[in-house]
Structure formats: structure tokens, C-alpha cells
Amino acid sequence: MLRVAEGLGRSVVRGVEEVGFAGALFLESVLWAALGPARRQPVRLTAVFAQMMQIGIGALPIATVLSATIGMMLAIQSLYSLGLFGAESFATIGIALSVVREFAPLIIGILIAGRSGSAIAARFSTMMINQEVDALRAIGISPVRFLAAPALFAMIVMVPCLTMWANIVALTAAGLFVTGALQISMAAYFADVIAVLSVNDLAHGLGKSMLFAAMVALVSTVNGALADGGAEGVGRRTTRAVVHSIATIIVVDMVFAFVVTAG
């Protein structure tokens, strides 16, 4: 019993330490972005753009496929469930709000956690184990400025962009099914979608995706930075980064929805 309590206590302390580390990492990244140029140590834009390419452009094909599938699936389910009450004509409302406020940010968040979060964690942990991070520090380069900040900023920019793209693709894919089932034109479908959606809905989804982006970047960086134990350590940290990122996204999603919608 005592051993269980001790183990639990250690886990809690470790968790709190990691949250603190992530917070410090975020603050330090912002400070480097703000003060770095004056100290002739800027966060290099080339590094940010390189990360943006990997995180955003590289994810476009899979993001398109997933968004189209989710859009289509939502259309099928909405028409089926509303059809039980003879309310198929309201399907567009449900689809538009669900995609923009919930599904697009969530699917892109999970996709980014699996794709880019794992890449960040694997890269960091490999660099830690190969002493590349030590080499950076020995040269006088802050690893936060050189490695963590570009990934964080690239995520914060590209994940909302991907979410916006997912909105368009998912709504179009849903439209393809809905227009066929309800015998309406695509123009009429999109007119309904635009009428239903407000700027607030869009801001809700994009704001959430920005939050997910920061979470994935920080969780993955923290996990990578704490790596030890060779190749096995890299694998362990990468898995942990993906699992923690997805769990964080889902919890943050619920809290965000509660605070913004219910509050």
C-alpha cells in the first residue's frame, strides 16, 4: 500500500515537473522571439519555415483524406439520425457546426500529434542521446531558441491553417453527399452553411486548434528533452509524446468547449 502511494506520489511530482518545464519552455521561446534579435540571437525564420513545410505542407495529403472522410461520415450519420424524425433538412446546420467547432480542429490536432508530435519527440530525443543538444550548448546556442521555438511557432501558425483547410474539405465532402440525398444544389448547400456559421464559430475552432498546436509542440519537446537510454529511450519517449499529446488535446478540448460554450 505504501509502495503504491509512493509510486503515485512520484508520478504526480514528475507530472508537475513536466508541466512546469513545458511552461518554462513556452515562456523562454516567447522571450527568445521578442528579445533574441536585439541580442543578435534571433529565432531563425529559415528554421521556422522549414518546420512549417514539414508540419503544414507535408501533412496536406493525409489531412485532406481524413477531413473528406470525416465530412462524408458526418453527413451520412446526420442524415440517418435526423431522418428518424423527418428532419433531414436540418442536417446542414449540424454538419456545419460540428465540423467547424469540433471535428476539424480535433482531427487535425490528433493528426498533428501523431505525425509532427512524434517527429519532434523523436528528433529531440535522438539529439539528446547523440549529444547534439550538448554540442549546441557548448557552441553557445540555446537549444530552446534553435530547436524548440521554431517548432512551436511553426505549429501555432500551421495547425490553424490546416484546420481551415480541413473545414473546407470536410464541408465540401459532406456537401457532396447531402446535395445528392436532399436533391439540392451545391450552391444552396453552401448558402445554408454560410448562413449557419458565425465568425464566433470559426474563431472557436481556430482558437482551439492554436491551443492544440502549442500543447502538441510543448508535450513533444518536453518528452524528447527528457530522453535517455539509447534507441529504446527514443521509442519510449516518442510513444509517450503521442499518447500524452492526444490525451491533452481531448482534455483541453472538453475544458475549452465547457468554458467557451457553457460558461
Partner: protein, 276 residues
């Protein structure tokens, strides 16, 4: 002559370590280390596995903060120095890590240019010329476009040396430069270390457990054992030492060899020692 010696002050040490202590958790790994390295000198830190030599190096280059003690590099106490002071100092330090630690996503040339990019305002062309010069110094001319994954172990280490010396540092640190290399490549690397000292007047600290290499390059040797300095002397002094642990190290004898079979068996079975 004696009077003359009295009037010439001893040169200020390039590195001065006093009372250095380090812990990993509750375990103390370095015990009251005192060490001085004179300008232009090559000091080899030697010891078996787990003796604390790599830990000492990490402290010397400011990668780990000690629990207690002072480390002065070129007159700056790095245990108290602020971020800007450390940054200024780091421009005068070079470190060649055991595995090379080249950035795997960059070419050899980009790796070597990186310190120049970060610390100077030179244009790209000049930086490339400087980097290629250093590649020639380490006999790697022509390898500039290769990725680290395409290099052999010896080439990796030489490329790491090129990166470490690209800013013409006053202090150069090596972590196990010969580890994992065949004797020919290892000997070439030793020659390179001597060449750098002679041509550029650098002060060097080399951590190694390779005896041949240590005896070839060292002006003085510091023997470390279980986190304590056993001896600081020149090569002959170390060879002549009658300290059993040093002789074990020199003759590559394991400490376990000193344990007699009877007590070893008792330790394994957990039976108490027989009393006469």
C-alpha cells in the same frame, strides 16, 4: 638562476578548478577536484570506466553545474557567470564530443559554419572559406557536402574537431577522441591534436582511457579514480607511480583480479567468512 625564476611570475592558469564536487542525485561522483591547466598545455584526464572523467569534462565546459567548488576558464568563474558572460566565453571554447555530435540534418560544411553564423557577422562566402580551411587542417578537404551519416567514425571525429576549432578557440576539450577507432586512425587523431597545439597554441583537456594516446599527447596526466584525483604528473611520473590503482590502470588489470577465489565465493554464496 633561482633569483631569475623568482622574478618571473608563473603564467595564470587557463583553467583553474578548486574544490569541485558533483552529485547525481544522492550519489557523489566528484570529490574535491583541484586542477590547473597552464596556457598551451595538453592535460589528459585518464581513468577507468565510471571514474568520473566524462562528468568532470561536462563540468569544465559548463554543461553541468557543480554542487560545490569553482571552475575558472580564462579567468571567468563559470559557476557564477551570467548568461552573457558565458556566451562571450563560449566563443573562446571548443568541444569535440565522443561520438562527434554533428547535427545529423546538416552537411559537414553547415555543421562547421554554424558557430560562425551564430557568433560573427561574416558573410556566407567568408564563412565557407574558413570552414574549408579547417576541414583541410583535419584532412577532410572534399567532405564538405557529405552528411554526417555518410562519414566513418574517424571522419566524424575529425569533422567534430573542425567544428570545435572553427572559431580559433583558446581552450579545446576532447571527450574520448580515440574511442572506437582503429590504431592507425587513432594515431592520426593524436597527431592532429599535437599539430593544433603547436600551430595554434591552444590549451587542451583530453579525456581518454586510451593509454597509448594519453602518453603520446599529454604534457601532464591527471589520473581520476572513483571521482577523486589520484595523481597529477607528467608521463614519466605516471609511469613510475607505485600507486596500485594506477598500476592496475596502466597494466589493464581489473580490480576484481585482486580478489581471491575464497572471498569471491563467500560473497556469491553470502556465507560468513571463516574465522581462524
Amino acid at each position: 638562476m633561482a633569483a631569475l625564476e623568482q622574478t618571473i611570475p608563473a603564467p595564470t592558469p587557463a583553467i583553474r578548478v578548486s574544490g569541485l564536487q558533483a552529485h547525481y542525485g544522492a550519489q557523489q561522483v566528484l570529490h574535491d577536484i583541484d586542477l590547473e591547466v597552464r596556457p598551451g598545455e595538453i592535460v589528459v584526464v585518464m581513468g577507468g570506466s565510471g571514474s568520473g572523467k566524462s562528468t568532470l569534462l561536462r563540468h569544465l565546459v559548463g554543461l553541468t553545474r557543480p554542487t560545490a567548488g569553482r571552475i575558472e576558464l580564462l579567468g571567468t568563474d563559470i559557476t557564477r557567470a551570467g548568461a552573457l558572460e558565458m556566451l562571450r566565453l563560449r566563443r573562446r571554447l571548443g568541444v569535440a564530443f565522443q561520438g562527434g555530435a554533428l547535427f545529423s540534418s546538416m552537411t559537414v560544411l553547415e555543421n562547421i559554419i554554424l558557430p560562425l553564423q551564430e557568433h560573427t557577422r561574416l558573410d556566407r562566402k567568408t564563412m565557407e572559406i574558413m570552414a574549408r580551411l579547417k576541414l583541410e587542417v583535419v584532412s577532410l578537404a572534399g567532405a564538405d557536402r557529405l552528411m554526417p551519416a555518410q562519414l566513418s567514425g574517424g571522419m566524424l571525429k575529425r569533422a567534430a574537431v573542425a567544428r570545435a576549432i572553427v572559431m580559433d578557440p583558446a581552450l579545446l576539450f576532447f571527450d574520448e577522441p580515440s574511442a572506437g577507432l582503429d590504431p592507425v586512425v587513432s594515431s592520426a587523431l593524436d597527431e592532429l591534436i599535437l599539430k593544433l597545439r603547436d600551430a595554434m597554441g591552444m590549451t587542451m583537456v583530453v579525456v581518454t582511457h586510451e593509454l597509448e594516446s594519453a602518453f603520446k599527447i599529454a604534457d601532464r596526466i591527471t589520473v581520476l579514480d572513483r571521482g577523486r584525483i589520484l595523481l597529477v604528473d607528467d608521463v614519466d611520473g605516471v609511469r613510475r607511480s607505485d600507486n596500485a590503482r594506477i598500476q592496475n590502470l596502466l597494466n589493464r588489470r581489473s580490480e576484481d583480479a585482486e580478489v581471491d577465489a575464497k572471498s569471491y565465493l563467500q560473497r556469491l554464496t553470502g556465507e560468513p567468512a571463516e574465522t581462524d
